[in-house]
Symmetry: C2
Subunit: 226 residues, 2 copies
Amino acid sequence: MITSIHNPRLKELRRIARRRDGRFVAEGEDLLAAAEQAGWPALERFVAAGSGLAGEEVEPEVLHRVSALRSGTRAIAVFEQRWSPPAGPLAVALWGVGDPGNVGTVIRAAHAFGAASVVLGPDTADPYSPKAVRASMGAIFAVPVARATTVGELPGPVTALAARAGAPLRGPGEGTILVGAERDGLPHDVLEAAHHTAHIPIHTESLNAAMAATVALYELSRVQRA
Amino acid sequence: MITSIHNPRLKELRRIARRRDGRFVAEGEDLLAAAEQAGWPALERFVAAGSGLAGEEVEPEVLHRVSALRSGTRAIAVFEQRWSPPAGPLAVALWGVGDPGNVGTVIRAAHAFGAASVVLGPDTADPYSPKAVRASMGAIFAVPVARATTVGELPGPVTALAARAGAPLRGPGEGTILVGAERDGLPHDVLEAAHHTAHIPIHTESLNAAMAATVALYELSRVQRA
């Protein structure tokens, strides 16, 4: 049993949670169960001593101190990151979405509405950061994530979501939903490069990126419910 | 200018942020602008000295220390709470939704999709808590909030959202969308008391309360876009 915060493997765990050089950390039994269900093996697995969970036992107080989320978790594991190419028929791409909670929520929505991939554009939070992983509620293990730097890399047709411009978004549909930052929206050249521009009809100025992406995925996946 | 954390008015501000006996605290210029736009006057208004904002000046470091959100805000104000009766034609009700961020996000979605009120049922987070107010992005000043303890108090027809039961939710529609806690859903007697049960078709087990309510409000407000 590991009883010290200075244990070299726990030090390495904390380093990975901060730096994430090709690996990442997931916390909590629900997330680790999601990884198992997806057939994504843990490289290391630490559990609270006495919890009866499978893994290297750690004194609960010590485990709590290495937790990035400080949420009283009883299991923490390290995984290899996986990056896929952008894939359709339905994808969602985030451009300049800096909040990891929003990124994780979008991954969760992508899973719920059957999107084939989540594509992370420039200036977008790391989907493997502890907050994004937690917000995904395990969907990070189920939905392929990809990186892109240009709109041309996205599965087409690409529909840019704007606050007011274009037509109201109407499903069913395929291709990529492109979502920008809440305040700044999408840069002009990105809007230009998209095939269509559409908006979600609302009475206010904006939705946040996660809410907008969730509604757009719901609308476009409508065909599956016809 | 206020230069001490021990200033009695700042102490009172912190007390209200914690206890909220009929008043509440909102932080940040965007939120205070939303209050002004809604014609909801501040009882007290504290601003960072040198910011040029209107209000009682406070040394920035001291203002930071009284902030509940610790987000470097330059303006904090105290308001009277307002409670309305549950109102339609379209309302959303939360039952057992304990996370204040979710409650605030639902208030924001209600504003975006034109709901007439947000009704807070039993065991639901306080919409006037600092986190809920912040997550509402100012919508707390625009959408009437109400309390209820029974389904009978909600504007009808009441549609209970379930993970799997009932028909797929189809708009346009009126009445109340009733949303429960993510894990536990709605209690059996609450489901029984609703007029309809419906679900949002998803590939996974659940959406969180805020995502589910957002999609449901979008779907029911569809008539306005026909």
